[in-house]
């Protein structure tokens, strides 16, 4: 690729950061500095999630893959109608450069969710994946959520309500009348969960669960008829070769398993790391000189937080970090821009003054409770132990009634205990969980406490982090709007 500095400068100065549907002339790829872009999204992976995962995975002083990225920025996540956003509006912003309303995919702010004022939808925005397809690049969408869910869908579809997943699936099918023709010959890799929206309602699928398409269509077959290779389990996944492109892989009826639960899946599921590496390798091989755009989402960090279940959020984030490391290892960072971010954060906190594990301390202790000596999750998945600096002894931190509390917690959600007095988390039987009792805050099924009772824990409105490496990554610094991500990626590719 030949670089023309002056032409590149001109494009940087003159190119608009967003493109409306009726743009008469689409910019072609000229003078970009990156051949490929890989965009990782940790859904709901706010800064507190990253910090907690760091402690859990590599220790307080350890380094996640994310910590090794040379360029970072803060990303503002508000949508045009909410301070605290959802995944649809935020991913649309990141993929199109246009901030929009929560719940809307691929349209700008003139489009209300579900078109509640009946004035129709606005023009469709151009997504980065669509631009990539229009410029002959190979493309891929990988997610542990359903491939029709908000974050992946914002790469390739346009709907005024994120719940229209039956329609979203059709927009990716090259032979359908509603096919999104901006996708050219089609997305090359569509991989994740969501088989229910590709299977007729009532039909028992490969894993013994039923589809939910109301139109009776079997899109698994229709995608194959359109030339796709379809797989649904881990064994088939490992048999795939790059010549099997385009690929439709649907490993679960709905979302894929959490990483912690993955080993128990009926058909077997590949890990996010395995999917990311395979997708990268295949797109590298298939794209030759044209380059590729790949979006990888760890979609269930968010779900675990909504359930108030920190353990699964941390283990999914750890797997996400592993996937990033594995991909960074196999690409040429002189021609591949890798950007990692989150769409929004969660009301997830690290509270009190929890001590580090004893082996990390730079001094000897005069004494400590037995529980501290067997600290769980390197201290993050346990109750809070603190240091009495007058005696050099570690003690159990307690609330104003003398009851211990956990390092991790939520502002709201299903973890509200609803009791006149709290119960020691180590003895806690969470009300409503009549089935399985989680024993201790280190238990994978434990629901960390919440201050405000809600059926589902919520997103939060503060900034999230952007991590970047590769050509153009140095443009990330300071505090930016999440729509800026689109600008950087587009400019790097030379659109």
């Amino acid at each position: 690729m030949i670089y023309r500095p002056l032409a590149f400068l001109a494009l940087l100065c003159l190119m608009s950061s967003s493109l409306a549907e009726e743009s008469p002339t689409l910019p072609s790829r000229t003078g970009g500095i990156a051949k490929n872009v890989i965009f990782f999204v940790g859904d709901g992976m706010g800064v507190s999630t990253v910090t907690a995962t760091r402690v859990f995975s590599v220790g307080v002083d350890g380094q996640l893959t994310l910590d090794e990225f040379p360029f970072t920025a803060l990303s503002r996540t508000a949508t045009t109608d909410h301070i605290t956003p959802d995944s649809a509006g935020t991913m649309t912003s990141m993929m199109t450069g246009v901030n929009t309303n929560s719940g809307v995919i691929g349209f700008g702010p003139e489009t209300e969710r579900r078109d509640f004022n009946g004035d129709g939808d606005g023009p469709r925005l151009w997504t980065l994946l669509e631009l990539a397809e229009q410029n002959g690049m190979k493309t891929g969408v990988v997610s542990t959520a359903r491939v029709t869910h908000a974050t992946p869908a914002a790469c390739y579809a346009h709907v005024n309500h994120r719940g229209l997943e039956n329609e979203i699936a059709l927009q990716a099918l090259p032979t359908d009348s509603t096919y999104n023709t901006r996708l050219g010959d089609g997305i090359d890799i569509l991989m994740g969960g969501g088989r229910r929206y590709f299977t007729p309602g009532g039909m028992v699928d490969e894993e013994g669960e039923t589809g939910s398409r109301p139109d009776g269509r079997d899109l698994r077959q229709e995608f194959q008829d359109a030339g796709y290779t379809y797989v649904w389990n881990e064994a088939q996944f490992h048999q795939l070769g790059w010549k099997d492109l385009p690929i439709l892989a649907l490993f679960e009826r709905s979302h894929m398993e959490y990483e912690y639960d993955r080993q128990g899946d009926l058909g077997g599921e590949p890990s996010l790391k395995a999917m990311s590496v395979k997708a990268t390798r295949f797109l590298q091989r298939a794209s030759k000189d044209s380059g590729f755009f790949l979006m990888v989402e760890s979609g269930r960090i968010d779900h675990a937080h909504h359930a108030g279940n920190s353990y699964r959020s941390l283990t999914d984030t750890e797997e996400f970090d592993e996937a990033i490391a594995a991909v960074a290892k196999i690409v040429d960072l002189e021609e591949t821009l890798i950007v990692v971010t989150a769409d929004h954060s969660h009301v997830f906190t690290i509270a009190g003054y929890p001590m580090r594990p004893k082996e990390d301390l730079p001094f000897d202790l005069a004494g400590a409770p037995k529980g501290y000596l067997d600290l769980q999750g390197n201290g993050i998945l346990d109750i809070v132990y603190d240091l009495d600096s007058s005696t050099g002894e570690v003690y159990t931190s307690t609330d104003s009634h003398g009851i211990p509390y956990t390092a991790l917690g939520y502002h709201n959600g299903p973890g509200f205990r609803g009791l006149a007095t709290r119960v020691d988390p180590r003895d806690d039987i969470f009300p409503g969980m009549f089935g399985q009792d989680a024993h201790g805050p280190w238990d994978p099924d434990y629901r960390q406490e919440a201050a405000v009772p809600l059926g589902s824990e919520t997103h939060s409105g503060e900034e999230v982090a952007i991590y970047a490496v590769g050509p153009g990554s140095s443009r990330f610094h300071g505090t930016v709007r999440n729509s800026f991500i689109f600008e950087v990626l587009k400019d790097a590719l030379g659109f």
Binding site: F8, V58, A420, F434, L454, G455
Partner: protein, 296 residues
């Protein structure tokens, strides 16, 4: 190798304001030196440090008891009573169980839990919750049932939460009780300090618990079969998607995403699983702490 590009804005950008670990960014030198340093940073490969996490082993799915399918269908009236310092709360529910389905109906709210056995792997299950107040059917995938602490596998559902592990901390209590033509045997804890269970009355032939009494940190929880009726023929339980075709169908995970501002009015099903994890659980922590022999 990429040709060096010296965009004007990079020439003017402050260098070194985001130095990562180990970065060397010259403060002096020519603009080209600074840009080369910047580009070197741009392409520095991120490598994580050694992992220190220890994952809990994933419990396997409970195996099915032999001849599970030979158990005849039953209809039960269950009562769940919780006694805490805030008082006593009692709720009734009707349970319909056959070899492929288990349905729990809550007469007060009208909610219905419908558990389906997986035809491809009979050890597995998933569920649909019908909520008339919202005109909605919530779908719980297998992992949602596990994550919500409702059930791990079809066996949990079929036995209303009692597994072979449940009996590990218990011993026969010597008493028997009849209900609906079935005989239930009493089980009591060997050492009450190691389990929340105070009583379990069990029929092994039909895999049914007459009564479960648990003493928790919050109070006492009791589940009891008040009425029991064996059914000769099939129960003809209808998939809620068909019986409530006009209801909105939604994954539980998506409900959490979409209805974040709402409190949950979900009635939790009665599957009184008992200390599935064995002696690691239970017991007061006032002064003692149990060990954790976990690891990969």
């Amino acid at each position: 190798m990429r040709n060096l590009t010296i965009p004007l804005m990079l020439l003017l950008a402050p260098v070194g304001c985001h130095s990562g670990p180990g970065a060397t960014t010259p403060d002096s030198g020519t603009g080209e030196d600074r840009l080369r340093a910047l580009e070197a940073r741009e392409t520095r490969r991120p490598v994580p440090g050694p992992r220190r996490s220890v994952r809990e082993p994933l419990p396997g799915l409970p195996a099915l008891p032999p001849d599970l399918d030979s158990r005849p269908p039953v209809i039960l009236e269950l009562v769940v009573k919780t006694e805490t310092e805030r008082g006593i709360v009692e709720s009734r529910r009707e349970v319909h169980r056959d070899r492929e389905h288990l349905e729990i109906r809550f007469p007060d709210s009208g909610q219905v839990w419908h558990f389906l056995r997986n035809p491809r792997d009979p050890r597995r299950t998933w569920a649909r919750l019908v909520d008339p107040s919202k005109r909605m059917i919530l779908e719980y995938q297998e992992v949602d049932l596990i994550d919500a602490g409702i059930a791990r596998g079809w066996r949990d559902v079929f036995t209303l939460g009692v597994s072979p592990d449940s009996f590990r901390p218990l011993r026969p209590g010597g008493r028997k009780e009849e209900r609906g033509g079935l005989t239930f045997t009493q089980w009591v804890p060997v050492d009450p300090s190691t389990t929340e269970v105070r009583e379990l009355w069990w029929n092994e032939e039909h895999l049914l618990p007459l009564r479960i009494v648990r003493q928790t940190g919050h109070g006492t929880w009791t589940q009891e079969i008040r009425e029991l009726r064996q059914v000769a023929g099939p129960l003809l339980l209808v998939d809620p998607v068909r019986s409530h075709a006009d209801y909105e169908l939604m994954d539980m995970v998506d409900w959490r995403e979409e209805h974040h501002g709402e409190s949950s009015s979900v009635e939790h099903p009665t599957l009184g699983a008992i200390d599935r994890r064995g002696p690691r659980g239970a017991g007061s922590h006032s002064g003692h702490h149990h060990g954790h022999g976990h690891g990969h």
